[in-house]
Each structure stands twice: as structure tokens, then as C-alpha cells.
Symmetry: C2
Subunit: 345 residues, 2 copies
């Protein structure tokens, strides 16, 4: 049975669409009452590992918001738990790596592992979410890009300056390259498994790569992201996203992806010019704009759609994940504004 | 008596120079042994207020490093202390505002104050540093740009998402505009005082403005930075600097400044194209690159000079302040590399 010709997939291929598809990063998150309800029953990791519950959380925002895609509920660090770095999810703090990798010796000791047995539960979530979604909207799988996953492993968490990462890159480049090779391999198998289980598209989150300048990106990131994108099965759109990347966009495009995700710190038309009009783009409303009154949200949505200028290949999204304090009515209003203002029928 | 025709000032006017001038943001800082020695004798605020000691700290890096400019030793928040927001410098944490401004009511109560009596000690530092420097190198004065100072006043310190700031902008725009007007007025008088005391050039630090998207910059920042730049006496070059601004550069240039400061997240040639070749640029080595072995530092310095392509109007600097852990020999090596590799005689 073939899938219907979903709006999101057509936009990712830069085919004309009757309106602009929209979904939101972290659309299954704390701002949503039904998600908070689930989190009263399950810890974060527990929820990720319970494929029944994770599939339910994946589908909830589609029902509540009318978005044009579901995104798998999971976390970018699940796949590296078998590396034995002490992954924990501290309350309200996001992931913490208790035993960060700071030296060549620690990195050399990393062992290959079987992705299927480590995160088979994620593939189960994909299968269950696909069944629950039916033919309504496509399901997006995802993984952290090698740099961003490496940055957690080396820093131990999010960082301001990424100095451990940069020290490792500059001082022990062989160790850095070894770590990135491990992550390309693991991530290719992880995304391959999600696609085999039924993901229609995948997003690579290189969320923190904007800490780097272009020279570092070229030397320490680009070859690995490119190798990863090339290792994925053809025909499944890849969305390549980062934040703070306005100066890196041409290089991110060079690294790969059918769709480049833009954050809010660049005008959509300028970002699209920077990556080239022969790829699609996704974005790029400031998540904080959803705290504003609906009239301002509408104005900002219109501004972004105007900058896309009706060109095929725009997927509407925020420039990063939905903030926990966001009123759910504002999120719903934003989705409706995109549908209303982009209607080309 | 007129000043000599300093290298830095000629570059700021985009006149050809025999080599590229170089200085470093936070060149008087914790990485420098003689600065740490001073800090054993004085607390941070105490040091700022002691114009004799502050002038000494201002001059030290010129002697140690051979840089082509001194920058006033002070802090961007000194000038707003009279607003009564509870400014403190927590140990190793930077500035903290104990009573942040979060509402229209708090902002409406702000009172104008006499800048000379509040920060006259800064003007004394300028005069003493000028005397100590003689005709060796020019002295750069500085202030926080209105947005960045407002961001401290509203958030209470540096922030990840600047949500209090954005809530205020979106939810109580009149209060935001009122606050920015106060800051333009205070900052114009503050920089005017530094210039009257002898500063040869001034830098506006809009360090955190990169948190905003272009639409917010246009609506909530640009008019104020522009008003400030226009309020300064003509003939004194203004360096306009921010970080994370790759997507904002054309707007920053529109706001004003003879020199636009670039951070390391954009290639220097791309950044210069974005602001236009009819202004000068400053930057843009990643401060973390100074943690790398000298061979890599040399390569990166050369890369930046090559991107400037011998075009008049480049001032070499880091993309942000020197990091505290930086080896002082690496800083000295960097300055020497710039001098050696940019020699056009």
C-alpha cells in the first residue's frame, strides 16, 4: 500500500501545494495539557521507552492542533545511552551526561553496539504511531546530528561556549574525528531503523552547531553530516536543522538535506537565498512570538509567508521548539493562521 | 595639540594602512597576570571606581601585547547603577541585577539622573589613561548599546531565551519603548563624557542582540541605536558590535556605526558584504581559537586576513572577549601574527 501524497512531502520536494504545510518542533511537549497528564504517569525516559504511550504522545498534537505532520516522541540522546556515559534526565533541566568524554583515551574505548537492541523501542513507537495516524498526516523521525550529540557527550550538557568541544577539536583532532565517525555510524543505523519502521521523513537536529564558526564547521562537522546524509536510504526527505546558523547556512546546505531548517535569527528570504532555491526550507517563527497577543502572532506569520513569496518548498515551523510556557490556544491560532493565510486554492 | 594619525583611526575611516591594526575585546582581563594581581587588591567595582588603578589596567595590555589600541577599563552597567536596580558583581559570575524591571509601572518610575556625578570616575579614568598612553596608541571608550543594557535590566543577568525581554516587547511595547528612550539619553551623555575626556573612538556593545530576529530588531532596537549614534559628536569613529548577529548585519549597519564588529560565526568576507564595503569591519577570530596550538592560531589569523583581501577598513579583533583561561603567550602570538601577516610595507 502506498502512502497518500502528503502536503509536507510535496513541499519537501518543492512541488506546488494548495497551502503551506505546518508542524512545530516539540509540538508534543510541556505546553500541551494532555502531554503534562502523560508526564504525571511516566518519567521522561520511561515515557520514551513505553512505545504505546510514546506513540500516543506523538499523535496528540495532530488531533489538538491540526498540524500537517506528526514527529516521533523520543530524545536525541537515547541512541547513545549504550555508550555508558551516564545519561540522565534531571527534572526540568534536560539531559545530563554524568561521565562526559574529554580525552582521546575515553573516546578510543567507545565500543560499537547493536542499535536495534538498544533503541528497538523507538522503532516500535514509529510503527504504533504510524498505525494510529493512518493516512491523516506523515510521521517525521529524527536524530541528533553528529556534532550536537558529540557536544552533549563532551560538555556533559548544553554549554555557553562549548570550550571542552573546541579544546578537543583543536588539541586532539584525531579523537574528535574518531568520535564523529562513531556517531555517524550509530546515527545512520538509528535513522535507517526509523525509516524501515515507517517514518516518512527524518529531521537531523544540529541544534547547537551555531556555536561554531565556518572554518570549524568545514573542518570538524561538514564531512560527518555529509557522510550521514549519504548513508540514508534515498527517497525519504531529510530536514537539516540548527539554531544560530545564519553564517553557516551555505555550508549546512553543502553538508546535505532536502530541506534546511532556519531559526528565527535570519529573515526567511535571506536564509533561503543563502542555502539556494534548489532546496526547500523550514521555519522560522521565533518560539517566543507565541507568547505575544494573537494579533502580533498573525502579523509575524504573514510576514514569514510573504517572504516565502509563494515559492514551492516552504514548510512552516518555529525557529526552535515550542516553549513550555506557551498558551496552547496561541499554538492552535498560529497553525490556523498558516492555513488561512497560505491558502492558494 | 593634535593626536598622531593612529593606525586604528585610519582603518576606521577606511584609509589604506601599512598593516592591519589589532586589539582584543576584554584585553584587560583575567587571562592577564598583571590584571589578576590588581584584582587581588581590588574588587571589580572598586577597581572600576578607582580611576588611577583602572587607568593602569587599561594601559597594561598595550605594554604586554603591543596591541594598536587601549580600551577603557569599565563595565557596561556602571552607568545604570543610579537607576536603583541593585547592581552587583557576583564572584566570577558577571553582573547581576537584584531588582529587575519587569513591568510598565517599574519602568515608568525610572528617574533621569546626572551622568557626570554618577560615573565621573569613568571620565577620570579616560583622562588618566590618555596621559599614561601618550601618543603610543589611541584610547577606545565604550558603552552597552540600549538593547543589551535593557536586557540586563529586565532579565536580571544574561539569559538563554530572553523571555522577559520579549514578553515586555510584545506585551507592553510602550514600556519597552520608554525604557529604550531612557537608555538612549543616558548612554549618549555617558559616551559624550568619555569623548570629551579624550576617548579617540567608542565601541557600542550590543553583545546579546543576536537573541532577536530581524523583525524584532527593526521594531524594538534599530530606532534607538540609530538615535544614540546620531546623538554622538561627529568625527569620533563608532564601532558597533554584537554577537550571533549574522542575520542582523544589514540592520545593524542601518542603525549606524563607522565600523561594524563581527563575531566568529560568520566568514569575514560574507559579513563585510552583508554590511556593505562602505563601512569598516572589526573581527573576527573565535576567542576559543586562542586555546589552540599556535600553529592553528596562525592559520586562522591568516584565513581572516585573506578574507579581508587587503581592502582598507579592517580592524583585527576577536569575535568576542578574551576567555579567562587563555594562555597569555597565545594572545601575544596572535597579535604578532596579525602584525607579521598583514605587513604591506
Amino acid at each position: 500500500m502506498t502512502s497518500p501524497d502528503f502536503l509536507l512531502l510535496r513541499a519537501a520536494r518543492r512541488e506546488p501545494t494548495e497551502r503551506t504545510p505546518v508542524w512545530l518542533m516539540r509540538q508534543a511537549g510541556r505546553y500541551l495539557p494532555e502531554y503534562r497528564e502523560m508526564r504525571r504517569r511516566f518519567g521522561f525516559l520511561e515515557l520514551c521507552r513505553n512505545s504505546e504511550a510514546a506513540a500516543e504522545v506523538t499523535v496528540q498534537p495532530v488531533e489538538r492542533l491540526g498540524v500537517d505532520a506528526a514527529i516521533l516522541f523520543a530524545d536525541i540522546l537515547l541512541v547513545v545511552e549504550p555508550l555508558g556515559v551516564g545519561l540522565e534526565f534531571a527534572l526540568g533541566e534536560g539531559p545530563v551526561i554524568r561521565r562526559p568524554l574529554r580525552s582521546d583515551g575515553e573516546i578510543a574505548r567507545l565500543k560499537p553496539f547493536d542499535v536495534e537492541s538498544a533503541v528497538g523501542f523507538v522503532f516500535d513507537t514509529v510503527r504504533k504511531a504510524r498505525r494510529a495516524l493512518g493516512d491523516r498526516v506523515p510521521l517525521i523521525g529524527f536524530a541528533g546530528a553528529p556534532f550536537t550529540v558529540a557536544s552533549y557527550l563532551v560538555e556533559g550538557g548544553p554549554s555557553r561556549d562549548y570550550l571542552y568541544v573546541k579544546r578537543l577539536m583543536y588539541g586532539e583532532p584525531e579523537a574528535w574525528h574518531r568520535l564523529m565517525e562513531v556517531l555517524v555510524d550509530v546515527t545512520a543505523r538509528y535513522l535507517g531503523g526509523q525509516i524501515a519502521a515507517g517514518a516518512h521523513a527524518v529531521q537531523l537536529f544540529d541544534s547547537w552547531v551555531g556555536a561554531l564558526g565556518p572554518d570549524d564547521y568545514r573542518a570538524f562537522v561538514l564531512p560527518y553530516t555529509r557522510a550521514l546524509v549519504r548513508a540514508l536510504p534515498p527517497g525519504v526527505p531529510v530536514i537539516h536543522f540548527g539554531t544560530g546558523t545564519a553564517g553557516l547556512l551555505p555550508l549546512m546546505r553543502e553538508a546535505g538535506g532536502d530541506v534546511i531548517g532556519l531559526d528565527w535569527r535570519v529573515d526567511l528570504d535571506a536564509g533561503w537565498r543563502a542555502v539556494g532555491h534548489d532546496v526547500a526550507v523550514q521555519g522560522n517563527l521565533d518560539p517566543a512570538a507565541l507568547l505575544a497577543p494573537p494579533a502580533l502572532i498573525r502579523e509575524r506569520v504573514k510576514g514569514i509567508l510573504d517572504r516565502a513569496a509563494g515559492r514551492p518548498g516552504h514548510i512552516f515551523n518555529l525557529g526552535h521548539g515550542v516553549l513550555p510556557d506557551t498558551p496552547v490556544e496561541h499554538v492552535k491560532a498560529m497553525v490556523d493562521f498558516v492555513h488561512e493565510l497560505s491558502d492558494r486554492r
